[in-house]
Amino acid sequence: MADDSPASHRRDPIKSSVGNVAAQRRRQNAVTVGKERRESLVRAKRLCRVGPSGDGDVPGEENDMVTDEEGFLLDAQTSSAVEDLKSAIAYQGKGAMQKRVNALRELRRLLSKSEFPPVEAALKAGAIPLLVQCLSFGSPDEQLLEAAWCLTNIAAGKPEETKALLPALPLLISHLGEKSSLPVAEQCAWALGNVAGEGEELRNVLLSQGALPPLARMMLPNKGSTVRTAAWALSNLIKGPDPKAATELIKVDVLLDAILRHLRKSDEELATEVAWVVVYLSALSNFATGVLVKSDAILLLVERLATSNSLQLLIPVLRSLGNLVAGDSHTTSTVLIPGHEITDGVIKVLVKCLKSDHRVLKKEASWVLSNIAAGSIEHKRLIYSSEAVPLLLRLLSTAPFDIRKEVAYVLGNLCVTPTGGDGKPNLIEEHLVSLVQRGCLSGFIDLVRSADIEAARVGLQFMELVLRGMPNGDGPKLVEQEDGIDAMERYQFHENEDLRNMANGLVDKYFGENYGIDE
């Protein structure tokens, strides 16, 4: 399968523009392309530019920002490639199979060239029905592979383009079967992953067409790119918001074993995709969360957090842990028992994340800690006396806003007892006093000053704790010193009534007429 040199399909770069109009259009194009580029980078769909066996256009070598003129040319070439495919399919004579494969390959190349393949042109020329025909049962592997590859890249585009794959879905799903060759199955999984990544509607279609079981089975082998692609496609397929698929997945026989095996032993790339599957399982399905909590999953997640430095891997692993803690009270009450080794391990890896340079890790680690700190008094003591607190205090004053908000939750949770049956939380004076003495109050007052409603609420609630709970009536003085009164006064003309009442209530109660009289 010799690779045609890309040069034969590539024009020489366009020489300088002819006048302002062309330049303006190119600039406009760049802006739209820039926006499109940004969106495509962030979309859950992935373009296939290098095939399973390594052939295909090498990304980056081509000029990805296609000019207008080059774009028109590409579209024209694509339309004609589709025409070629049409006649190749119609052709019944000698060498028909090779003709078809060549035509498919040509189309595939055009669809893999740049970051923005000429999908619209391909669809307009009627590519889909032809590609569906090429997927028919009994077709040679090469043909199936090229057809699935074309469909993959068509599906990586805009929503209407992804939806265009609807007629092809049943066939793509059938080729996931164990009788298919691995590269073919993988390419079909990739295409389906893009379709699933589009949205809930398409996800439901795929689920009703039975896409889940074969994809799940593809995760069972120990290694290989096929396993990785299948895991990625599955993560898109089960991401909800309906928890049905997640619950169905965890029930697949031996799937839990496979997940644990990959978390334990597989290379980081594969473990990353599997971890994302766990993220969705734990975020959506209470049943799956229960199953995972009872297994070794937490231990394995902690192991990965401790040993890996790959941000790609750490994000889903940390989040999985967070979801398991957040989603099931059993996690903190029966697994992460203070004093047990596993609990110390969890605190340790969370501290590691707090120390990292990455925003996402710091934010989500704080979130996990806040949930553990919402546990029993022993949990609060454990965190309070750990390495986490000095780090959290520093983050509260220096980190970006979204991290500070999460840190605030941890610190505040450390200062109140668990919410009992009667709903009355009491203060843990020792923790409150110590944290305030170490300077956390100004961080909370900063949150009160922010425009974010939730953050302001959190800040005001902590201020209430300080005003009420600091011994010797020191609270009001401390709050005043940090310009807390000022911060609360802003709410007088704030549009949020809840916050207005909270702030007013505090000022009235603690800074009323008699404030300072007894000094």
Binding site: R38, L41, V42, R46, G60, E115, G240, P241, W276, Y280, L284, L311, I315, V325, A326, G327, R359, V360, E364, S370, N371, A374, F401, N413, V416, T417, T419, K424, P425, L427, I428, E429, E430, R449, S450, A451, R457, Q461, G469, E480, D483, I485, D486, E489, R490, F493, E495, E497, N501, M502, N504, G505, L506, V507, D508, F511, G512, E513, G516, I517
Partner: protein, 247 residues
């Protein structure tokens, strides 16, 4: 470990309770991690430069966190949360040149100045003119007394009953000490003035009462329409006080 069992049955303040917080996978809470996932996956394939990546993150952050200014009547859109403080200081800190109180809009400032420092205003009030403007821009209703306006704000504009445009301030410590001494000396007078409510019937007594009170340093502990700080926004006094006149 000492615990302060001090929970008041005052159900109006939502006290801090420590509870687990769970998020759905498509919650905005997770979006920065999700974006990171896709960027990292495609970075290798597309050779994103460090610069491009930073730009992308900034663009995404901005979109997600743009909000509107929450101060009533302000329709400013802030692209970044961080911009709020600057915006607030620039647009919502109009300060009174007489008493240094601060207000969130120039309109409220001017209403304050009329109601608190303008004897002409008080004279007209005394003569029965409807001088107290509704605080909500565009409403244009006026009232003969403070309480009438207050009621209107609560009834028509859903202000909380605890809202007061004129509010006792929390003066600085120095000021408090001064007031304490003054209180000891002028206890009787102070008591009289602090109990005064601006009612229709009291209009007549108002102007004369004002002139009787000693105002060498205008007892801000009983009458204050905002803090003495240059920063910060005014609070409304707890009880209605007659505005004082500086001699």
């Amino acid at each position: 470990m000492a615990m302060v069992v001090d929970y008041k049955h005052d159900s109006s303040f939502p006290y801090w309770t420590s509870i687990r917080r769970r998020f759905a996978p498509d919650s905005p809470f997770f979006s920065s991690g999700n974006i990171e996932r896709e960027l990292l996956a495609k970075q290798v394939a597309l050779d994103l430069t460090e610069d491009e990546r930073n730009q992308l993150e900034k663009m995404i952050d901005n979109d997600a966190r743009g909000i509107f200014c929450p101060i009533v009547g302000c329709d400013a859109r802030l692209t970044l949360l961080e911009d709020f403080e600057d915006h607030y200081n620039a647009r919502h800190t109009a300060s009174c040149s007489v008493c240094s109180r601060v207000y969130p809009t120039s309109r409220l400032l001017s209403i304050h100045v009329s109601e608190a420092h303008d004897s002409f205003f008080q004279a007209k009030v005394a003569r029965g003119y409807a001088m107290y403007e509704c605080l909500v821009e565009g409403c244009d209703l006026k009232f003969k007394n403070y309480k009438g306006r207050q009621q209107h704000l609560v009834d028509k504009h859903k202000f909380p009953t605890s809202f007061e445009f004129f509010k006792k301030a929390h003066p600085s410590k120095k000021q408090r000490m001064k007031n304490q001494r003054k209180r000891a000396v002028n206890k009787k007078d102070e008591e009289a003035s602090s109990k005064m409510e601006v009612e229709n019937e009291m209009m007549e007594g108002l102007v004369s009462a004002v002139s009787k009170l000693s105002t060498s340093d205008s007892s801000p502990s009983t009458v204050s329409f905002g803090r003495r700080n240059a920063r910060g926004l005014t609070f409304v006094p707890r009880s209605v006080q007659p505005p004082l006149q500086k001699k």
